[in-house]
């Protein structure tokens, strides 16, 4: 049955190919339906594959499907091979499931766009590459998917390329992730040099034998790729700008799937990280610092999509933090749950934007929308509470496990920091919710709930966000952790700290504190938050501009880079390169001009020439003898 595995990515690829080649012929919504159907079929196949996997005993839950040998050079061999194991199946299900819903939503959302069919072609292409990434059986194929999703991200962020901001954002995303991608590639080369192969089964089981330093370098190179792709500090700057793309794109790529590729990579390669003493700690620290940084920045955002973008960065930080603590199942669990509730939030934001005039994204110009858009509000609330970590929604179980992992590993300092991060999450998310859906209406126009298709998508995702918690009710014995055990090992037992129950209560308490604070400021009416904004304007601006990291890059890196590029283009290229070439041309023609003067056309000068030669030869003969 597992020969079905290659078809999971193949169907969306076919969809993309059809839509790319025959795009203009499709009537608007038909293209969208086709694309959604492709992803839905892929989801169905993924479920079937999952079913066969589950029907086997735990020790046999791994199969390879090799299509053909791609590279065979000497002893180095890379196949186009897919891997069916618990981790890849979970990822595939998440990608196709959430992806199908988002495609469905986009059928109506993108209606009327002149390049409708192409949009769906790109979306399908993206799903294809993402599936290649998660189903690959070797690092090189994973890298193919990695690059492919980067390409599709570029295409989709810049989908409305007529807008300069969108085109710039797409470029920025590509260039920034490129830094990570290059590191990843170097890491792969390094891996090949150590292992002679890039297959998971030839690398990972032997990773523990690596020397400490080697493992650290390799792990850090891989992690650098993850930092770029998953928008962690310091390569996070592209994600807020990526919100220029259509909202379904933001939901699919920049919330639910592509950005999670980094987490997947780290979890998949965990043996390498474990072989090094410090790699996991670095991952955890980077994740945590990013989570807090992004959380703070999210509080200062007025643009609803940018807030969600920083929120994604923050949640990804939590995932990395969990992985760094060794709680791989928890990280994946958070990944899955996050896919649902972040998608819900993004699609809800999309509905709000669609409903208000001029695609309004500024939350200060929204308010009280729960009355005008009840369904959207309900699904949003589900997403909000899930993210904040309120039981019994999925976010509670997922985030709680991640945070608890710190305490259980005995790292109390990190645990406090993680709790602070959770507080911030609740805070900014609640702020967003209250500003948008509650309070007095500050908006213009007459908003209403989106059409039925979009509503269906929203509801399905909200249900998922709510119920996904069932996958991991317990960190040690939950469905997901047990399912992932063959790949990531058993969940570590608590080494220290309070029991699971106590930790959960603390998590919820922290979340409630966050919600309460936000309610106090924004909804209770006791504090004039608008005046507060004005008074603390510069502080707010700092938060809003992500603590000026982006501006720092602009000045310190981009500016000089542009200067260098201008220098090379105008000085080196024009003067040196072109000058050399034209110079050579001029040299040739001037020397030809000089040589021309030998062609006098006069017989007598030619006679002189002949005689000169003859005399010289004669002289040589005389002298020689």
């Amino acid at each position: 049955m597992n020969i079905l595995a290659p078809f999971i990515p193949a169907i969306p690829l076919a969809g993309a190919a059809v839509l790319l080649l025959t795009g203009p012929r499709w009537r608007d919504r038909s293209a969208g339906w086709l694309a959604s159907a492709a992803v839905a079929v892929a989801f169905g196949l993924a479920v079937t594959v999952f079913g066969t996997l589950v029907s086997r005993p735990v020790t046999l839950r791994l199969s390879h499907v090799s299509l053909f040998e791609w590279i065979g050079v000497g002893s180095f061999r890379v196949d186009i091979a897919f891997r069916v194991d618990p981790l890849s199946t979970v990822m595939a299900l998440t990608v196709t499931g959430v992806g199908a819903m988002i495609h469905l939503y986009a059928v109506d959302y993108m209606r009327g766009d002149p390049r409708y069919a192409r949009f769906f072609a790109y979306m399908n292409l993206f799903v294809f590459f993402m599936l290649v990434l998660v189903l690959a059986d070797n690092y090189l194929l994973l890298y193919v998917g990695w690059e492919g999703v980067g390409l599709c991200s570029y295409l989709l962020i810049g989908f409305w390329f007529e807008r300069k901001t969108a085109a710039d954002a797409a470029k920025k995303a590509f260039v920034t992730t490129r830094i990570g991608d290059s590191a990843l590639l170097i890491g792969l080369i390094f891996m090949w040099s150590r292992f002679g192969s890039l297959d998971f089964d030839r690398v990972l089981p032997h990773a523990h034998a690596l020397a400490n330093g080697t493992a650290t370098v390799m792990a850090m190179l891989l992690f650098a790729g993850a930092v770029g792709k998953s928008a962690q500090l310091p390569l996070h700057v592209w994600l807020p700008d990526a919100m220029e793309g259509p909202t379904p794109v933001s939901a699919l790529i920049h919330a639910a799937t592509m950005v999670t590729a980094g987490v997947y990579l780290v979890v998949r390669s965990h043996q390498i990280f474990e072989a090094s003493g410090v790699a996991l700690t670095i991952v955890a620290v980077v994740g945590l610092v990013t989570a807090i940084y992004a959380g703070l920045s999210a509080i200062g955002q007025d643009d609803i999509k940018r807030m969600l973008a920083y929120s994604t960065i923050s949640q990804l930080g939590f995932m990395f933090f969990g992985a760094g603590m060794g709680a791989y199942s928890a990280a994946i669990f958070l990944l899955v749950a996050h896919a649902f509730f972040k998608a819900v939030l993004f699609l809800g934001a999309g509905s709000v934007m669609h409903a208000l005039p001029d695609e309004e994204t500024d939350m200060t110009r929204m308010g009280g929308l729960r009355r005008a858009m009840p369904l959207t509000a309900v699904t949003w609330v589900v997403g909000w509470l899930a993210m904040a970590g309120i039981p019994p929604l999925s976010g509670f179980f997922a985030k709680d496990q991640v945070v608890a992992a710190a305490s259980q590993a005995g790292r109390i300092g990190l645990w406090y920091a993680a709790l602070f991060g959770a507080l911030l999450t609740a805070l900014y998310e609640t702020r967003g919710t209250f500003l948008t859906f509650f309070g007095e209406p500050r908006h213009r126009g007459h908003p209403h709930d989106p059409p039925s298709l979009m509503r269906t998508a929203l509801v399905s995702l909200a249900v998922g966000a709510a119920l996904a918690g069932v996958l991991g009710l317990s960190a040690t014995s939950g469905l997901l952790p047990k399912f992932l055990t063959p790949v990531v090992g058993p969940t570590k037992e608590a080494v220290a700290g309070p029991s699971e129950l106590v930790l959960s209560i603390i998590s919820v308490a922290v979340a409630l504190v966050g919600i309460l604070t936000a309610w106090l400021v924004y909804l209770s009416g006791r504090i004039d938050w608008m005046a507060l904004r004005v008074r603390f304007a510069s502080a707010k601006r700092t938060f809003q501009r992500g603590f000026y990291v982006n501006d720092f890059y602009s000045g310190a890196i981009v500016g000089p880079a542009k200067l260098a590029a201008a220098f090379v283009a105008y000085v080196v290229d024009r003067r040196v390169v072109d000058g050399t070439l034209t110079g050579i041309g001029r040299l040739v023609s001037s020397s030809a001009g000089a040589a021309r003067r030998a062609q006098t056309g006069l017989v007598r000068t030619y006679a002189v020439g002949i005689l000169l030669g003859a005399t010289a030869v004669l002289g040589y003969l005389v002298v020689r003898s």
Binding site: T600, L602, L611, L618, L621, S625
Partner: protein, 185 residues
């Protein structure tokens, strides 16, 4: 002894005639001086033991070729004195230099005895046994038969070529003459 005297009389005449020829301003004078030179050369041939060539030189060169030259000179009417100014820079210097170096080189070659022996000249009478003509004929029609035939063809071809070249066509007359001194575009 006789050849010594003859040589020292004829050689200066030869060289002087040649020199005067190239400096002559009148083409007819030049032609006549060349004829004198040819005569001296004929005498040289005689001294060197080739009476056949002595006669042939006079008949062919002085008698036919130079007559042709004179015909053409008369035809073209170039018996007017020509200016001896030189337009090409450095031509005269170069000519003098090259000429001098040529002489020097050959003199050196001769002095150093390159390519020939200093020994006593062999007895030439044996070679000319039966007369120079017969001896020449023996060599010519045996060893050099093929070049002989080829040169006869050459002569025929040359005659035909010259005939074709000298034809006056009506079309040729109407061809536009390129102006004298005009350079190619």
């Amino acid at each position: 002894m006789a050849d010594w005297i003859v040589f020292w009389i004829i050689a200066p005449i030869s060289v002087v005639a040649a020199g005067a020829m190239i400096l002559a301003r009148n083409a007819v004078h030049a032609a006549l001086l060349l004829i004198v030179n040819f005569f001296t050369l004929a005498v040289f041939f005689l001294i060197l033991g080739s009476p056949f060539l002595f006669v042939v030189q006079i008949i062919v060169y002085a008698g036919a070729i130079m007559v042709l030259f004179l015909f053409v000179i008369m035809l073209l009417g170039v018996d007017q004195p020509v200016p001896l100014t030189e337009h090409i820079k450095g031509q005269r210097w170069l000519a003098a230099l090259l000429g001098a170096s040529l002489v020097v080189e050959v003199a050196l070659a001769v002095r150093l005895g390159i390519g020939y022996s200093h020994g006593r000249l062999p007895d030439f009478t044996a070679v000319n046994r039966g007369g120079n003509v017969q001896a020449l004929a023996k060599v010519l029609f045996n060893s050099y038969f093929f070049p002989f035939e080829v040169t006869s063809i050459l002569l025929t071809v040359a005659a035909i070529g010259a005939m074709l070249h000298g034809r006056r066509n009506i079309a040729e007359e109407e061809t536009v003459d390129t102006a004298v001194g005009e350079t190619a575009t």
